[in-house]
Assembly symmetry: C2
Homo-oligomer: 420 residues x 2
Amino acid sequence: MSLTSIEDHLSAILATIEPTPPSAVAVGEALGLTLAEPVNSAVDLPGFTNSAMDGYAVRAADCAGASASTPVSLRVVGDIAAGDTRSLTLEPGTTWRIMTGAPLPDGADAVVPVEESDGGTSQVELRLAPETGRHLRRRGEDVAAGTEILSAGTVLTPGRLALVAAANVPVVTVRRRPCVAVISTGDELREPGTDLEHGQIVDSNSLMLAALVEASGVDVIKLPRVRDEAQAFSRALAEAAAAADLVLTTGGVSMGAYDTVKEVLSARGSVSFRKVAMRPGMPQGQGVVGPRDTPLITLPGNPLSAMVSFHVFVLPAIAGLQGRSVAADSWQAAAVPGRAVRGWRSVQGKTELTRVTLRNGAMTPATGQGSHMVGALADANALAIVPPDVVEVAEGDVLSCLRLVGTVPANSAHREGNGL
Amino acid sequence: MSLTSIEDHLSAILATIEPTPPSAVAVGEALGLTLAEPVNSAVDLPGFTNSAMDGYAVRAADCAGASASTPVSLRVVGDIAAGDTRSLTLEPGTTWRIMTGAPLPDGADAVVPVEESDGGTSQVELRLAPETGRHLRRRGEDVAAGTEILSAGTVLTPGRLALVAAANVPVVTVRRRPCVAVISTGDELREPGTDLEHGQIVDSNSLMLAALVEASGVDVIKLPRVRDEAQAFSRALAEAAAAADLVLTTGGVSMGAYDTVKEVLSARGSVSFRKVAMRPGMPQGQGVVGPRDTPLITLPGNPLSAMVSFHVFVLPAIAGLQGRSVAADSWQAAAVPGRAVRGWRSVQGKTELTRVTLRNGAMTPATGQGSHMVGALADANALAIVPPDVVEVAEGDVLSCLRLVGTVPANSAHREGNGL
């Protein structure tokens, strides 16, 4: 069996993925969701012409010829603060003291900054003749009412939510938050806290995958773990396919005798198993299940392989469900550069994804790259991508690194604690 | 009034912050929380000695002298797959075919890789004399039972949750997820979707702050917006102080006539207002409120100033509540480098935080740095830190950039949509 490229396998996965249906959501509930329809501003921004400076609102004509040597003196009618909702008028020959952001009174057509005055509060000397429109933020200069402010496919970040709200748009049409089901299989697996018998291990994998799904910003359905038994697995699969937008399985796909996942799914014909030219994570499967052709990805049962496979194959699939633009050749588009602090050996002919700790652009390979070394997995925060033709990474080499989901909040020094 | 440094103001904030109380949480519910107590492994990892290769489990003594020219022939008793829970024994002069990760049978003390054999399934010729212990993963070699695997203060990422589960630890002691209240003030503010009168604007700020808090991984309490009226504000403040671990206010702290927040809090004496040497975001306040001395931070009402202040002051405070180690001089520790695609002017004597779009290390300043330009805020994903003594950033200059919360999920090309 020849090896499939990462891109070909991912391409097959993405062919099964459609964005979730559009859904109308209040702007306050839309954080992290993707727009299914563009947003047009309901109002001008700014909504009214206001001052760009602390100073004096004037009629430019009243200040004609003003200079440091020949200041113009005007009577100060009062103060206008930001948020002042009064409808005010500027009479010729007078001025209002005005704060940054405060609405310009009717009749005014310029602002003289306080620095160009004697700062007077009842009478003021202005030392500048402003041109008409000077130091104003004009109604609609930022955004005109009716303008498209965000296009379909845009992810709603806090800043964009602020824009939508400021545009006086209370409801947005987004892709419904996807829901991913995780099915874990294996006779030898037990819950954490169980007395383990010989050969039994704790099922850390489904917990890790659920956490990765959750950290990706989508919902997770954790199904009860399934024994290596075809009927039980088929039942779990039917339940998952009905409830979720994407089904993940872990375990049961290697060459062993008890590979229920592979056995059941191979018989159905709607799932393809491939050996992908990557390490770890070679045994992969993908297809659809259930009456709605729910997409399915089978992940290897080994924790490191599952972690790597999640970042290479599942994240792009989730992005597709979210309605984000994603292509099979872009799986490493978000990678960031890392410079090797020390070298390591890699494998010829496969893309190797090496766990690394990436800090300030310096990349330290995790000790114990053996896929059983769960301890080393815990401190890694990225996967270095070693191309198939590279057999040795040398100190100082720069590689692309995929950040691990859930390890890199925005302000990582504060948020990753003492470990990273 | 002289200007306070960012570090001095942040230091005063952090002096009011204590970690939330410890709380016992099931490992499946602990994503993103911080350990209040270390975690010790309940079991050896691996839990049983297993094979590091696909091959044949042997007694090394049975293979003495084996080589390519003088192979040793052994009878194959059967196969042992990963997850096999049988208690098996290796009789002298025989072998079990064994898969990677499968438990070693009693009596075996080495594995001969399949590559060093003829691959036989009933009888096999082995061409290698392994030393005792060869190609085994010994019980406990990764982690010995009782060993501390994670220290207090560590953030529980998906990989670390997998380690805790694998260590057979069902419950961890973490800092309770903090809860942050947001109070927005301003007579001129309205909900999105309202018909706006002259001088009224939509309250985009409290929505943005709530989204920032949520994107930081903590809980948010959004209180009803408060008019610029002392009693109403005092009531909201009391409610927030009782319910939350941190209170944020927005608006009402500048020099205007209707600055209720400042007026009410100044009278109490437990809150200090300072002008901080930064732009935007100069008017800042911090202190404690309510009978439990709940920490409070007052943010400027202008959206850009509020966004910047959140990243400089509120994120470290949240990290402190979460039990993460944080110091006043580390507010920019998580910054990443960005190279200016084009230059811009900055201000002397203040740290300027310039909105930029950072992509592949290239940093483009957002157009419209005026603090009213909400449109430009929407596409920025970082704040470039321009030190106080720099008055001009030139093309090619490298600055430290703070990533904006909620714009940088782990796999950003897939997760930020077409905008970024």
